[in-house]
Protein backbone atom coordinates (compact mmCIF):
# COMPACT_ATOMS: atom_id res chain seq x y z
CA UNK A 1 0.00 0.00 0.00
CA UNK A 2 2.85 2.33 0.87
CA UNK A 3 4.52 1.33 -2.40
CA UNK A 4 1.34 2.20 -4.29
CA UNK A 5 1.36 5.66 -2.75
CA UNK A 6 5.00 6.19 -3.77
CA UNK A 7 4.26 5.47 -7.47
CA UNK A 8 1.64 8.21 -8.03
CA UNK A 9 3.97 11.02 -6.91
CA UNK A 10 6.47 9.89 -9.58
CA UNK A 11 3.69 9.97 -12.21
CA UNK A 12 2.70 13.49 -11.35
CA UNK A 13 6.13 15.09 -12.12
CA UNK A 14 6.34 13.03 -15.34
CA UNK A 15 3.00 14.45 -16.50
CA UNK A 16 4.43 17.90 -16.12
CA UNK A 17 7.65 17.09 -18.05
CA UNK A 18 8.15 16.43 -21.80
CA UNK A 19 6.95 13.34 -23.81
CA UNK A 20 10.43 11.79 -23.93
CA UNK A 21 10.59 12.03 -20.23
CA UNK A 22 7.20 10.35 -20.19
CA UNK A 23 8.57 7.37 -22.15
CA UNK A 24 11.55 7.03 -19.81
CA UNK A 25 9.31 7.26 -16.80
CA UNK A 26 7.07 4.56 -18.30
CA UNK A 27 10.12 2.24 -18.61
CA UNK A 28 11.00 2.87 -15.01
CA UNK A 29 7.73 1.43 -13.71
CA UNK A 30 8.39 -1.76 -15.78
CA UNK A 31 11.66 -2.46 -13.94
CA UNK A 32 10.08 -2.46 -10.45
CA UNK A 33 7.75 -5.26 -11.63
CA UNK A 34 10.70 -7.51 -12.65
CA UNK A 35 12.57 -7.55 -9.31
CA UNK A 36 9.78 -9.32 -7.41
CA UNK A 37 9.66 -12.15 -10.05
CA UNK A 38 13.35 -13.02 -9.77
CA UNK A 39 13.04 -12.82 -6.04
CA UNK A 40 10.09 -15.20 -6.15
CA UNK A 41 12.00 -17.51 -8.56
CA UNK A 42 15.07 -17.23 -6.33
CA UNK A 43 13.11 -18.85 -3.55
CA UNK A 44 12.57 -22.19 -5.46
CA UNK A 45 16.22 -22.06 -6.56
CA UNK A 46 17.17 -21.74 -2.96
CA UNK A 47 14.91 -24.66 -2.20
CA UNK A 48 16.72 -26.61 -4.95
CA UNK A 49 19.98 -25.62 -3.38
CA UNK A 50 18.68 -26.88 -0.09
CA UNK A 51 17.68 -30.17 -1.75
CA UNK A 52 21.02 -30.56 -3.50
CA UNK A 53 22.76 -29.68 -0.29
CA UNK A 54 20.80 -32.43 1.42
CA UNK A 55 21.78 -34.84 -1.37
CA UNK A 56 25.40 -33.77 -1.14
CA UNK A 57 25.26 -34.20 2.60
CA UNK A 58 23.79 -37.68 2.05
CA UNK A 59 26.46 -38.55 -0.51
CA UNK A 60 29.42 -38.02 1.85
CA UNK A 61 27.62 -40.23 4.35
CA UNK A 62 28.58 -43.19 2.14
CA UNK A 63 32.30 -42.44 2.15
CA UNK A 64 32.06 -41.62 5.82
CA UNK A 65 30.50 -45.01 6.44
CA UNK A 66 33.14 -46.63 4.22
CA UNK A 67 35.84 -44.87 6.11
CA UNK A 68 34.36 -46.13 9.35
CA UNK A 69 34.20 -49.65 7.92
CA UNK A 70 37.78 -49.49 6.69
CA UNK A 71 38.94 -48.12 10.01
CA UNK A 72 37.09 -50.92 11.77
CA UNK A 73 38.74 -53.45 9.46
CA UNK A 74 42.11 -51.91 10.22
CA UNK A 75 41.32 -52.19 13.88
CA UNK A 76 40.20 -55.79 13.43
CA UNK A 77 43.41 -56.65 11.58
CA UNK A 78 45.56 -55.09 14.20
CA UNK A 79 43.51 -56.75 16.91
CA UNK A 80 44.03 -60.29 15.47
CA UNK A 81 47.71 -59.87 14.60
CA UNK A 82 48.79 -62.51 17.11
CA UNK A 83 46.37 -65.06 15.59
CA UNK A 84 47.61 -64.75 12.00
CA UNK A 85 48.82 -67.86 10.16
CA UNK A 86 52.55 -68.36 9.54
CA UNK A 87 53.90 -66.99 6.29
CA UNK A 88 54.64 -70.44 4.85
CA UNK A 89 51.06 -71.59 5.45
CA UNK A 90 49.70 -68.51 3.73
CA UNK A 91 51.98 -69.16 0.75
CA UNK A 92 50.80 -72.77 0.60
CA UNK A 93 54.19 -74.27 1.47
CA UNK A 94 54.08 -77.06 4.06
CA UNK A 95 57.63 -78.13 4.96
CA UNK A 96 56.53 -81.13 7.03
CA UNK A 97 54.43 -82.45 4.15
CA UNK A 98 57.29 -81.91 1.71
CA UNK A 99 59.63 -83.81 4.03
CA UNK A 100 57.18 -86.71 4.36
CA UNK A 101 56.80 -86.99 0.60
CA UNK A 102 60.53 -86.75 0.00
CA UNK A 103 61.23 -89.42 2.61
CA UNK A 104 58.65 -91.73 1.04
CA UNK A 105 60.40 -91.42 -2.33
CA UNK A 106 63.78 -92.06 -0.69
CA UNK A 107 62.72 -95.62 0.15
CA UNK A 108 62.93 -97.39 -3.23
CA UNK A 109 61.25 -100.62 -2.10
CA UNK A 110 58.16 -99.41 -0.25
CA UNK A 111 56.52 -96.16 -1.31
CA UNK A 112 53.93 -94.59 0.96
CA UNK A 113 51.15 -93.63 -1.43
CA UNK A 114 48.77 -92.03 1.08
CA UNK A 115 51.09 -89.12 1.78
CA UNK A 116 51.02 -88.09 -1.90
CA UNK A 117 47.25 -87.69 -2.15
CA UNK A 118 47.52 -83.94 -1.64
CA UNK A 119 49.51 -82.62 -4.57
CA UNK A 120 51.67 -79.53 -4.24
CA UNK A 121 54.25 -77.83 -6.42
CA UNK A 122 56.58 -76.29 -3.84
CA UNK A 123 58.43 -79.57 -3.22
CA UNK A 124 59.01 -80.16 -6.94
CA UNK A 125 60.23 -76.59 -7.37
CA UNK A 126 62.73 -77.16 -4.58
CA UNK A 127 63.91 -80.34 -6.34
CA UNK A 128 64.20 -78.52 -9.68
CA UNK A 129 66.36 -75.86 -8.10
CA UNK A 130 68.50 -78.53 -6.41
CA UNK A 131 69.02 -80.28 -9.75
CA UNK A 132 69.89 -76.98 -11.44
CA UNK A 133 72.36 -76.25 -8.62
CA UNK A 134 74.12 -79.61 -8.94
CA UNK A 135 74.29 -79.23 -12.69
CA UNK A 136 75.75 -75.77 -12.13
CA UNK A 137 78.38 -77.28 -9.83
CA UNK A 138 79.19 -79.72 -12.64
CA UNK A 139 79.76 -76.77 -14.97
CA UNK A 140 76.49 -76.90 -16.90
CA UNK A 141 74.01 -74.03 -17.00
CA UNK A 142 70.70 -75.76 -17.70
CA UNK A 143 68.03 -73.83 -15.78
CA UNK A 144 65.77 -73.17 -18.76
CA UNK A 145 66.26 -76.62 -20.23
CA UNK A 146 65.33 -78.43 -17.01
CA UNK A 147 62.24 -76.33 -16.36
CA UNK A 148 61.12 -76.59 -19.98
CA UNK A 149 61.57 -80.34 -20.07
CA UNK A 150 59.67 -80.68 -16.80
CA UNK A 151 56.66 -78.97 -18.35
CA UNK A 152 56.81 -81.05 -21.53
CA UNK A 153 57.27 -84.28 -19.55
CA UNK A 154 54.32 -83.57 -17.27
CA UNK A 155 52.05 -82.80 -20.21
CA UNK A 156 53.30 -85.93 -22.00
CA UNK A 157 52.55 -88.22 -19.05
CA UNK A 158 49.21 -86.48 -18.47
CA UNK A 159 48.15 -87.10 -22.09
CA UNK A 160 49.39 -90.70 -22.16
CA UNK A 161 47.73 -91.65 -18.89
CA UNK A 162 44.35 -90.10 -19.60
CA UNK A 163 44.29 -91.55 -23.11
CA UNK A 164 45.14 -95.05 -21.87
CA UNK A 165 42.71 -94.87 -18.95
CA UNK A 166 39.84 -93.83 -21.21
CA UNK A 167 36.66 -92.43 -19.68
CA UNK A 168 37.78 -93.43 -16.19
CA UNK A 169 40.94 -91.34 -16.28
CA UNK A 170 40.87 -88.66 -13.60
CA UNK A 171 44.54 -87.67 -13.37
CA UNK A 172 44.71 -83.89 -13.39
CA UNK A 173 47.71 -81.91 -14.55
CA UNK A 174 48.50 -80.54 -11.08
CA UNK A 175 48.79 -84.01 -9.56
CA UNK A 176 50.76 -85.24 -12.56
CA UNK A 177 53.26 -82.38 -12.32
CA UNK A 178 53.59 -82.93 -8.58
CA UNK A 179 54.30 -86.65 -8.95
CA UNK A 180 56.75 -86.21 -11.83
CA UNK A 181 58.55 -83.55 -9.80
CA UNK A 182 58.79 -85.54 -6.58
CA UNK A 183 59.96 -88.67 -8.39
CA UNK A 184 62.78 -86.61 -9.88
CA UNK A 185 64.49 -86.96 -6.49
CA UNK A 186 66.57 -90.02 -7.52
CA UNK A 187 67.82 -88.06 -10.53
CA UNK A 188 68.80 -85.22 -8.19
CA UNK A 189 70.68 -87.72 -6.04
CA UNK A 190 72.33 -89.08 -9.20
CA UNK A 191 73.38 -85.56 -10.09
CA UNK A 192 74.95 -85.07 -6.67
CA UNK A 193 76.72 -88.44 -6.77
CA UNK A 194 78.02 -87.80 -10.28
CA UNK A 195 79.95 -84.82 -8.98
CA UNK A 196 82.35 -87.28 -7.32
CA UNK A 197 82.60 -89.79 -10.18
CA UNK A 198 85.40 -89.00 -12.63
CA UNK A 199 84.41 -88.24 -16.21
CA UNK A 200 86.48 -91.05 -17.68
CA UNK A 201 84.55 -93.82 -15.91
CA UNK A 202 81.87 -94.29 -18.56
CA UNK A 203 80.46 -97.70 -17.59
CA UNK A 204 80.25 -96.74 -13.91
CA UNK A 205 78.24 -93.65 -14.75
CA UNK A 206 75.93 -95.64 -17.01
CA UNK A 207 75.29 -98.31 -14.38
CA UNK A 208 74.62 -95.67 -11.74
CA UNK A 209 72.29 -93.81 -14.07
CA UNK A 210 70.43 -97.01 -14.95
CA UNK A 211 69.85 -97.81 -11.28
CA UNK A 212 68.57 -94.35 -10.42
CA UNK A 213 66.36 -94.19 -13.52
CA UNK A 214 64.75 -97.53 -12.66
CA UNK A 215 64.20 -96.22 -9.13
CA UNK A 216 62.49 -93.08 -10.44
CA UNK A 217 60.43 -95.06 -12.93
CA UNK A 218 59.18 -97.50 -10.32
CA UNK A 219 58.28 -94.72 -7.90
CA UNK A 220 56.47 -92.60 -10.48
CA UNK A 221 54.53 -95.43 -12.12
CA UNK A 222 53.50 -96.84 -8.73
CA UNK A 223 52.26 -93.47 -7.50
CA UNK A 224 50.47 -92.52 -10.71
CA UNK A 225 48.66 -95.86 -10.97
CA UNK A 226 47.66 -95.86 -7.30
CA UNK A 227 46.52 -92.24 -7.05
CA UNK A 228 44.48 -92.01 -10.26
CA UNK A 229 41.74 -94.34 -11.47
CA UNK A 230 41.80 -96.49 -14.56
CA UNK A 231 45.53 -97.08 -14.78
CA UNK A 232 45.92 -100.46 -13.11
CA UNK A 233 45.64 -102.56 -16.27
CA UNK A 234 48.04 -100.26 -18.14
CA UNK A 235 50.77 -100.21 -15.52
CA UNK A 236 53.48 -101.47 -17.86
CA UNK A 237 52.61 -99.00 -20.59
CA UNK A 238 52.59 -96.09 -18.13
CA UNK A 239 55.86 -97.29 -16.62
CA UNK A 240 57.49 -97.13 -20.05
CA UNK A 241 56.41 -93.51 -20.45
CA UNK A 242 57.90 -92.70 -17.03
CA UNK A 243 61.07 -94.55 -18.03
CA UNK A 244 61.46 -92.33 -21.09
CA UNK A 245 61.00 -89.18 -19.02
CA UNK A 246 63.61 -90.01 -16.38
CA UNK A 247 66.06 -91.40 -18.94
CA UNK A 248 65.90 -88.05 -20.68
CA UNK A 249 66.77 -86.23 -17.47
CA UNK A 250 69.55 -88.67 -16.68
CA UNK A 251 71.09 -87.86 -20.07
CA UNK A 252 71.45 -84.30 -18.83
CA UNK A 253 73.37 -85.59 -15.82
CA UNK A 254 75.56 -88.14 -17.59
CA UNK A 255 76.72 -86.05 -20.55
Amino acid sequence: MTKDFAVPPVVFPSGGSSGGANVQQRRFPATPFQPPRPSSSAIPFMSFDIGSAAASSATPAGPFGGTIASSSSFGGGSASFEDEEPLLDELGIHPDQIWKKTRSILNPFRINQAVHKDSDLSGPIFLYLALCLFQLLAGKIQFGVILGWIVVSSIFLYVVFNMLAGRNGNLNLHTCTSLVGYCLLPVVVLSAVSLFVPQGAGPVRFVLAALFVLWSTRACSTLVVSLADGGEEHRGLIAYACFLIYTLFSLLVIF
Binding site: P38, D49, Q142, M163, G166, H234
Partner: protein
Protein backbone atom coordinates in the same frame (compact mmCIF):
# COMPACT_ATOMS: atom_id res chain seq x y z
CA UNK B 1 20.48 -2.50 -10.92
CA UNK B 2 22.02 -4.23 -7.89
CA UNK B 3 18.82 -6.12 -7.30
CA UNK B 4 18.85 -7.29 -10.92
CA UNK B 5 22.51 -8.38 -10.78
CA UNK B 6 22.14 -10.20 -7.46
CA UNK B 7 19.55 -12.85 -8.42
CA UNK B 8 21.18 -13.66 -11.79
CA UNK B 9 24.40 -15.24 -10.37
CA UNK B 10 22.22 -16.88 -7.76
CA UNK B 11 20.12 -18.39 -10.53
CA UNK B 12 23.20 -19.62 -12.42
CA UNK B 13 24.99 -21.23 -9.49
CA UNK B 14 22.07 -23.36 -8.22
CA UNK B 15 21.41 -24.57 -11.76
CA UNK B 16 25.04 -25.64 -12.22
CA UNK B 17 25.44 -27.33 -8.84
CA UNK B 18 22.52 -29.78 -8.70
CA UNK B 19 22.63 -30.91 -12.34
CA UNK B 20 25.89 -32.97 -12.40
CA UNK B 21 25.39 -34.89 -9.17
CA UNK B 22 21.90 -36.34 -9.80
CA UNK B 23 22.82 -37.11 -13.42
CA UNK B 24 26.14 -38.77 -12.54
CA UNK B 25 25.00 -41.00 -9.71
CA UNK B 26 22.22 -43.01 -11.39
CA UNK B 27 24.22 -43.39 -14.62
CA UNK B 28 27.36 -44.70 -12.95
CA UNK B 29 25.64 -47.24 -10.70
CA UNK B 30 22.98 -48.96 -12.82
CA UNK B 31 24.89 -48.28 -16.03
CA UNK B 32 27.91 -50.34 -14.97
CA UNK B 33 25.64 -53.17 -13.87
CA UNK B 34 23.80 -53.15 -17.17
CA UNK B 35 27.06 -53.08 -19.13
CA UNK B 36 28.53 -55.93 -17.12
CA UNK B 37 25.47 -58.13 -17.44
CA UNK B 38 25.26 -57.43 -21.16
CA UNK B 39 28.90 -58.29 -21.76
CA UNK B 40 28.56 -61.41 -19.64
CA UNK B 41 25.61 -62.71 -21.62
CA UNK B 42 27.24 -61.88 -24.93
CA UNK B 43 30.51 -63.49 -23.84
CA UNK B 44 28.74 -66.66 -22.78
CA UNK B 45 26.98 -66.76 -26.11
CA UNK B 46 30.26 -66.33 -27.99
CA UNK B 47 32.07 -68.94 -25.90
CA UNK B 48 29.24 -71.42 -26.19
CA UNK B 49 28.97 -71.11 -29.94
CA UNK B 50 32.74 -71.22 -30.41
CA UNK B 51 33.13 -74.34 -28.28
CA UNK B 52 30.36 -76.07 -30.20
CA UNK B 53 31.96 -74.99 -33.48
CA UNK B 54 35.35 -76.32 -32.38
CA UNK B 55 33.78 -79.59 -31.27
CA UNK B 56 32.01 -80.05 -34.59
CA UNK B 57 35.20 -79.25 -36.48
CA UNK B 58 37.24 -81.64 -34.36
CA UNK B 59 34.73 -84.43 -34.87
CA UNK B 60 34.77 -83.76 -38.59
CA UNK B 61 38.53 -83.73 -39.15
CA UNK B 62 39.73 -86.05 -36.42
CA UNK B 63 38.27 -89.31 -35.30
CA UNK B 64 38.12 -89.97 -31.58
CA UNK B 65 41.71 -90.02 -30.24
CA UNK B 66 40.49 -92.32 -27.46
CA UNK B 67 39.99 -95.09 -30.02
CA UNK B 68 43.72 -95.22 -30.79
CA UNK B 69 44.73 -95.69 -27.15
CA UNK B 70 42.56 -98.73 -26.33
CA UNK B 71 45.56 -101.03 -26.05
CA UNK B 72 47.02 -103.51 -23.61
CA UNK B 73 50.37 -105.25 -23.15
CA UNK B 74 49.45 -108.15 -25.39
CA UNK B 75 48.45 -105.93 -28.29
CA UNK B 76 51.63 -103.87 -27.97
CA UNK B 77 53.82 -106.97 -27.99
CA UNK B 78 52.08 -108.51 -30.98
CA UNK B 79 51.98 -105.26 -32.92
CA UNK B 80 55.69 -104.75 -32.39
CA UNK B 81 56.31 -108.20 -33.83
CA UNK B 82 54.26 -107.36 -36.91
CA UNK B 83 55.94 -104.01 -37.44
CA UNK B 84 59.48 -105.28 -36.93
CA UNK B 85 59.04 -108.63 -38.73
CA UNK B 86 56.23 -108.24 -41.25
CA UNK B 87 57.32 -111.34 -43.16
CA UNK B 88 56.39 -113.60 -40.27
CA UNK B 89 52.81 -112.31 -40.03
CA UNK B 90 50.88 -115.36 -41.21
CA UNK B 91 47.43 -113.90 -40.59
CA UNK B 92 45.55 -111.50 -42.81
CA UNK B 93 46.05 -107.73 -42.91
CA UNK B 94 42.37 -106.79 -43.02
CA UNK B 95 40.84 -104.84 -40.16
CA UNK B 96 37.83 -106.27 -38.37
CA UNK B 97 34.75 -104.13 -38.93
CA UNK B 98 31.52 -104.00 -36.96
CA UNK B 99 28.23 -102.23 -37.78
CA UNK B 100 27.51 -99.52 -35.21
CA UNK B 101 24.32 -97.53 -35.56
CA UNK B 102 24.03 -98.24 -39.25
CA UNK B 103 27.52 -96.91 -39.89
CA UNK B 104 30.47 -99.17 -40.62
CA UNK B 105 33.31 -98.80 -38.13
CA UNK B 106 36.30 -100.83 -37.04
CA UNK B 107 37.05 -102.63 -33.83
CA UNK B 108 39.47 -100.90 -31.43
CA UNK B 109 43.11 -102.03 -31.30
CA UNK B 110 42.56 -104.12 -28.17
CA UNK B 111 40.39 -106.50 -30.21
CA UNK B 112 42.08 -106.28 -33.61
CA UNK B 113 45.81 -106.71 -34.18
CA UNK B 114 45.58 -104.94 -37.54
CA UNK B 115 44.00 -101.77 -36.16
CA UNK B 116 46.33 -98.77 -35.87
CA UNK B 117 47.08 -97.24 -32.49
CA UNK B 118 48.86 -94.10 -31.33
CA UNK B 119 50.54 -95.47 -28.22
CA UNK B 120 53.29 -97.35 -30.07
CA UNK B 121 54.08 -94.42 -32.43
CA UNK B 122 54.22 -92.01 -29.49
CA UNK B 123 56.47 -94.25 -27.41
CA UNK B 124 58.62 -95.08 -30.43
CA UNK B 125 59.10 -91.38 -31.12
CA UNK B 126 60.06 -90.76 -27.48
CA UNK B 127 62.45 -93.70 -27.58
CA UNK B 128 63.99 -92.31 -30.76
CA UNK B 129 64.64 -88.97 -29.05
CA UNK B 130 66.17 -90.65 -25.99
CA UNK B 131 68.35 -92.97 -28.08
CA UNK B 132 69.43 -90.02 -30.21
CA UNK B 133 70.51 -88.21 -27.06
CA UNK B 134 72.36 -91.29 -25.88
CA UNK B 135 74.10 -91.60 -29.24
CA UNK B 136 75.10 -87.94 -29.21
CA UNK B 137 76.45 -88.32 -25.70
CA UNK B 138 78.56 -91.34 -26.57
CA UNK B 139 80.15 -89.40 -29.42
CA UNK B 140 80.76 -86.42 -27.15
CA UNK B 141 78.35 -84.07 -28.92
CA UNK B 142 75.49 -84.01 -26.42
CA UNK B 143 73.92 -80.64 -25.65
CA UNK B 144 70.29 -79.91 -24.77
CA UNK B 145 70.07 -77.72 -27.87
CA UNK B 146 71.20 -80.62 -30.06
CA UNK B 147 68.58 -82.86 -28.48
CA UNK B 148 65.88 -80.26 -29.06
CA UNK B 149 67.06 -80.06 -32.66
CA UNK B 150 66.77 -83.83 -33.07
CA UNK B 151 63.27 -83.65 -31.60
CA UNK B 152 62.35 -81.17 -34.33
CA UNK B 153 64.04 -83.37 -36.93
CA UNK B 154 61.95 -86.33 -35.79
CA UNK B 155 58.78 -84.25 -35.99
CA UNK B 156 59.69 -83.14 -39.52
CA UNK B 157 60.36 -86.75 -40.49
CA UNK B 158 57.02 -87.86 -39.08
CA UNK B 159 55.31 -85.04 -40.96
CA UNK B 160 57.04 -85.98 -44.22
CA UNK B 161 55.95 -89.59 -43.79
CA UNK B 162 52.34 -88.50 -43.17
CA UNK B 163 52.43 -86.30 -46.27
CA UNK B 164 53.87 -89.15 -48.33
CA UNK B 165 51.13 -91.56 -47.31
CA UNK B 166 48.40 -88.94 -47.62
CA UNK B 167 49.44 -87.90 -51.11
CA UNK B 168 49.69 -91.54 -52.18
CA UNK B 169 46.18 -92.28 -50.96
CA UNK B 170 44.79 -89.12 -52.53
CA UNK B 171 46.42 -89.81 -55.87
CA UNK B 172 44.97 -93.32 -55.85
CA UNK B 173 41.47 -91.96 -55.38
CA UNK B 174 41.11 -92.83 -51.72
CA UNK B 175 40.90 -89.76 -49.55
CA UNK B 176 38.53 -91.08 -46.92
CA UNK B 177 41.04 -92.57 -44.49
CA UNK B 178 41.02 -90.62 -41.20
CA UNK B 179 44.03 -88.42 -40.60
CA UNK B 180 44.87 -90.09 -37.30
CA UNK B 181 45.03 -93.44 -39.10
CA UNK B 182 47.69 -92.00 -41.41
CA UNK B 183 49.53 -90.47 -38.45
CA UNK B 184 49.57 -93.85 -36.72
CA UNK B 185 50.80 -95.72 -39.78
CA UNK B 186 53.53 -93.12 -40.31
CA UNK B 187 54.54 -93.30 -36.66
CA UNK B 188 55.30 -97.00 -36.83
CA UNK B 189 58.36 -96.02 -38.85
CA UNK B 190 60.11 -94.97 -35.65
CA UNK B 191 59.86 -98.48 -34.24
CA UNK B 192 62.37 -99.94 -36.65
CA UNK B 193 64.39 -96.74 -36.56
CA UNK B 194 64.85 -97.14 -32.80
CA UNK B 195 66.15 -100.65 -33.36
CA UNK B 196 68.69 -99.38 -35.90
CA UNK B 197 69.86 -96.54 -33.66
CA UNK B 198 70.13 -98.93 -30.71
CA UNK B 199 72.29 -101.24 -32.82
CA UNK B 200 74.44 -98.27 -33.75
CA UNK B 201 74.94 -97.49 -30.06
CA UNK B 202 75.86 -101.05 -29.13
CA UNK B 203 78.06 -101.82 -32.14
CA UNK B 204 78.69 -99.21 -34.81
CA UNK B 205 78.97 -101.56 -37.77
CA UNK B 206 75.65 -103.26 -37.09
CA UNK B 207 74.00 -100.00 -38.15
CA UNK B 208 74.88 -100.69 -41.80
CA UNK B 209 73.09 -104.03 -41.58
CA UNK B 210 70.14 -102.86 -39.50
CA UNK B 211 69.23 -99.70 -41.39
CA UNK B 212 68.60 -101.44 -44.77
CA UNK B 213 66.74 -104.19 -42.96
CA UNK B 214 64.65 -101.60 -41.13
CA UNK B 215 63.86 -99.78 -44.36
CA UNK B 216 62.83 -103.05 -45.98
CA UNK B 217 60.58 -104.10 -43.09
CA UNK B 218 58.98 -100.69 -42.85
CA UNK B 219 58.41 -100.65 -46.59
CA UNK B 220 56.79 -104.08 -46.55
CA UNK B 221 54.61 -103.18 -43.58
CA UNK B 222 53.44 -99.95 -45.19
CA UNK B 223 52.78 -101.61 -48.55
CA UNK B 224 50.64 -104.32 -47.01
CA UNK B 225 48.79 -101.87 -44.81
CA UNK B 226 48.20 -99.34 -47.56
CA UNK B 227 47.00 -102.09 -49.85
CA UNK B 228 44.32 -103.00 -47.32
CA UNK B 229 43.41 -99.35 -46.82
CA UNK B 230 43.08 -98.86 -50.55
CA UNK B 231 41.04 -102.00 -50.98
CA UNK B 232 38.71 -100.94 -48.18
CA UNK B 233 38.38 -97.30 -49.20
CA UNK B 234 38.92 -97.15 -52.94
CA UNK B 235 35.99 -97.56 -55.32
CA UNK B 236 38.04 -98.38 -58.40
CA UNK B 237 40.97 -100.76 -58.27
CA UNK B 238 43.65 -100.02 -60.85
CA UNK B 239 46.18 -102.71 -60.03
CA UNK B 240 49.14 -101.53 -62.12
CA UNK B 241 48.96 -97.93 -60.92
CA UNK B 242 48.44 -99.07 -57.35
CA UNK B 243 51.46 -101.35 -57.49
CA UNK B 244 53.73 -98.64 -58.89
CA UNK B 245 52.72 -96.12 -56.24
CA UNK B 246 53.01 -98.65 -53.44
CA UNK B 247 56.49 -99.58 -54.64
CA UNK B 248 57.31 -95.87 -54.64
CA UNK B 249 56.18 -95.65 -51.01
CA UNK B 250 58.40 -98.60 -50.09
CA UNK B 251 61.40 -97.13 -51.91
CA UNK B 252 60.86 -93.71 -50.31
CA UNK B 253 61.47 -95.29 -46.91
CA UNK B 254 65.19 -95.68 -47.65
CA UNK B 255 66.18 -91.99 -47.93
CA UNK B 256 63.79 -90.96 -45.17
CA UNK B 257 65.00 -93.51 -42.65
CA UNK B 258 68.65 -92.96 -43.55
CA UNK B 259 68.13 -89.24 -43.00
CA UNK B 260 66.42 -89.80 -39.66
CA UNK B 261 68.91 -92.47 -38.60
CA UNK B 262 71.89 -90.17 -39.08
CA UNK B 263 72.07 -88.65 -35.61
CA UNK B 264 73.67 -85.28 -36.16
CA UNK B 265 72.77 -81.63 -35.89
CA UNK B 266 73.40 -81.08 -39.59
CA UNK B 267 70.18 -80.33 -41.40
CA UNK B 268 70.92 -81.90 -44.75
CA UNK B 269 72.09 -85.26 -43.46
Amino acid sequence: MYNNMGPRPGMAMPQANPQPSPFGNPFSGPGSGLIRSGLGAYGEKIFGSSSEYVQSNISRYFSDPQYYFQVNDQYVRNKLKIVLLPFLHRGHWTRISEPVGGRLSYKPPIYDINAPDLYIPLMAFGTYVVLAGLSLGLYGKFTPEALNWLFVKGMVGWFLQVMLLKITLLSLGSGEAPLLDIVAYAGYTFTGLCLAVLGKIIWGYSYYVLIPWTCLCTGVFLVKTMKRVLFAESRSYDSSRHHYLLIFVALAQFPLLIWLGNISVNWLF
